[in-house]
């Protein structure tokens, strides 16, 4: 979640840029103040739908020691769009998120964020140590910005855990915990919600629920959502665009396009792709028995082409 202190900077930066007739702001990995590198001229990199564009990464490289974690990654997220990054373990999904958020610094390439954008972030791991006494309400108000109680309550209500406001954080179940963290991320009314494996440690029903909730939030507020996940089944049914990452972007597009892409099949293997087809079949037919020995999914074009 992007807080007031963080955002005031964005405000200032955006205004000063606009004075110079340059409406876009570029920052390079986290050094939002000092490291504003090249400034793109209006229109030079913007697609036609530029007012809806929230985030654009171009040829982003990131090294960890000798190892190249990210290799010329391109990524765009627009308002009202759910973009999911999928890829095997160690593909650099979380690293990409952290580079975009400025947690990992000094990447190569360009990262552009819409001026005055508000970000909400749910990290992959959030271990809460019982050694710190912390209620859900206090967790929500952690950090330099001080949200008022009503806002906290409203955010908890949106994610369905408002009854836990006074509970101690370390006593929550996995699902409740994730919902609380999500509530904190949406507390600042983010333009872009960045969620790193938001359903990890949640059971299957809870997983579906959380994705549904994220979809609802997007529909209701028009936020852009950038997700990281390795659960292909749910990704395929709850995403507008999939970015398949294995250090570089293997393929990108609508779920049904991507699942037929040779790069995708190579990355996840034939078996996975087939089981995915079963799953889609299951959902589209909504047939309780017919999918058990299901053949190919109906939506798949008979001749694979991309």
């Amino acid at each position: 979640m992007a807080t007031a202190a963080d955002m005031t900077f964005f405000y200032r930066q955006a205004y000063s840029m606009q004075d110079g007739k340059i409406a876009q702001m570029l920052y390079q990995g986290g050094h939002r103040i000092k490291q504003i590198g090249k400034i793109l001229h209006p229109g030079s990199c913007m697609p036609a739908t530029s007012d809806a564009l929230l985030l654009q990464a171009r040829e982003v490289d990131y090294h960890l020691g000798e190892k190249k974690i990210l290799d010329r990654v391109d990524l765009q997220v627009h308002a009202g769009e759910i973009v999911t990054i999928i890829g095997p373990n160690g593909a650099g999904k979380s690293t990409l998120i952290k580079v975009l958020l400025g947690i990992h610094r000094h990447p190569g390439g360009d990262i552009w964020l819409r001026p005055r954008i508000r970000l909400g972030y749910v990290p992959q791991h959030l271990p809460i140590d019982p050694v710190m006494p912390l209620t859900v309400a206090r967790f929500m108000s952690l950090g330099p910005s001080r949200p008022d109680g009503n806002a906290v309550h409203a955010a908890l209500e949106l994610t369905g855990v408002q009854h836990l406001e006074r509970a101690q954080v370390h006593r929550l179940s996995g699902g409740e915990f994730k919902r609380m963290v999500l509530a904190r991320a949406i507390l600042g009314q983010p333009d872009l919600l960045i969620l790193d494996e938001p359903v990890q440690g949640v059971d299957y029903a809870g997983e579906l629920n959380l994705y549904r909730l994220i979809g609802t939030l997007r529909d209701r507020f028009g936020w852009g959502v950038l997700l990281v996940s390795h659960d292909l089944h749910i990704v395929m049914s709850a995403t507008d665009r999939v970015v398949c990452l294995n250090h570089h972007v293997c393929c990108t597009g609508k779920p049904e396009q991507v699942s037929n892409h040779p790069g995708f099949i190579e990355l996840f293997g034939d078996q996975v792709v087939k089981s995915l087809a079963l799953y889609q079949h299951h959902h589209q037919c909504d047939d309780p028995v017919g999918h058990v020995h299901g053949s190919m999914k109906p939506s798949a074009p008979s001749s694979p082409s991309s």
């Binding site: 979640m1 992007a2 807080t3 202190a5 963080d6 900077f9 986290g30 939002r32 952290k98 958020l101 400025g102 947690i103 970000l119 972030y121 990290p123 959030l126 809460i128 140590d129 050694v131 710190m132 006494p133 912390l134 209620t135 206090r138 967790f139 952690l142 950090g143 330099p144 910005s145 001080r146 009854h163 836990l164 509970a167 101690q168 006593r171």
Partner: protein
């Protein structure tokens, strides 16, 4: 006699004021052994201070901070585990301090006083120093409280929200060094960490919020100082260790209370 006792009490309370909240962060960030290592370095700081004729408190702060810095650097680059590195630095610093002090045979120092504290020998000037240190540490801590708390809960979220994590971590270490220098007089380098940890741990058993825990940490520390000094006066025991024993007693008393809190906070079934 009562004058000395009063002075000692003031010194101890001054120490407890800062060791409560700072000790909570030491406990939350799992830095107990880290603090111990810095405290052991304090003896080397005293020796260095005497050698180069600089203010001893300054010497302690400098050497403790230096050790903390070395530790952070080693931890980033070294294959050895943190605990091993801490062990190496901790015991080397203590031994180095003792060796350097041994070389200065012309100066008579009260080694036991440095190791276990000499609260009964505090001067009004010392007390002034402690309270000035209190004001400085508490002011900085109040300024850093919210970002420090957030980065203690989750460093990446703090970074994503624009908290200057590295800088705050450095300042926090300097604060610990300062508190060690202040606490050393009361309980000595070997027991300094106990006054950071035990009152905070006791507070954990009673508190429901980080702020309450910090406050209770201070209150526990003050209680321990008062009880310890009283015991020391009655039974003529060494004051520093008596204070630590008192703190430990309070911790033991707080254990059933934590059970009670736990029972009271047992998860209620959500109203639907």
């Amino acid at each position: 006699m009562s004058d000395i006792l009063l002075l000692s009490w003031f010194a101890g309370v001054g120490m407890a004021l800062v060791s409560g909240p700072l000790g909570c962060f030491v406990v939350w960030r799992r830095m107990a052994y880290f603090g111990d290592t810095m405290a052991h370095g304090a003896l080397l700081g005293v020796a260095m201070g005497m050698m180069f004729h600089i203010n001893l408190t300054l010497g302690v702060v400098l050497v403790s901070s230096l050790i903390a810095l070395i530790l952070l650097l080693l931890r980033r680059q070294h294959a050895l585990g943190s605990d091993t590195l801490l062990g190496i630095l901790s015991h080397s610093a203590l031994s180095l301090g003792l060796v350097v002090l041994g070389f200065m045979s012309q100066i008579r120092i009260d080694l036991l006083g440095y190791l276990f504290g000499d609260i009964l020998a505090v001067s009004p000037i010392d007390i002034l120093g402690i309270y000035l240190g209190d004001a400085l540490v508490l002011t900085i801590l109040a300024k850093l409280w919210h970002p420090l708390l957030l980065m203690t809960v989750h460093e990446d979220i703090a970074r994503a929200e624009g908290v200057a994590v590295d800088r705050i971590q450095l300042i926090f270490m300097l604060l610990i060094a300062l508190v060690i220098a202040m606490t050393m007089k009361v309980v000595g380098v070997l027991l300094v960490t106990s006054m950071l940890i035990i009152p905070a741990a006791t507070a954990r058993n009673l508190a429901h919020s980080p702020e309450a825990m910090a406050l209770l940490g201070s209150v526990n520390g003050m209680l321990a100082v008062s009880l310890g000094l009283a015991a020391s006066y009655h039974w003529d025991t060494p004051a520093g260790p008596a204070i630590v024993v008192a703190a430990m007693t309070l911790f033991i008393i707080s254990l059933p209370a934590s059970q009670w809190t736990r029972w009271k906070q047992a998860p209620r079934s959500p109203k639907s």
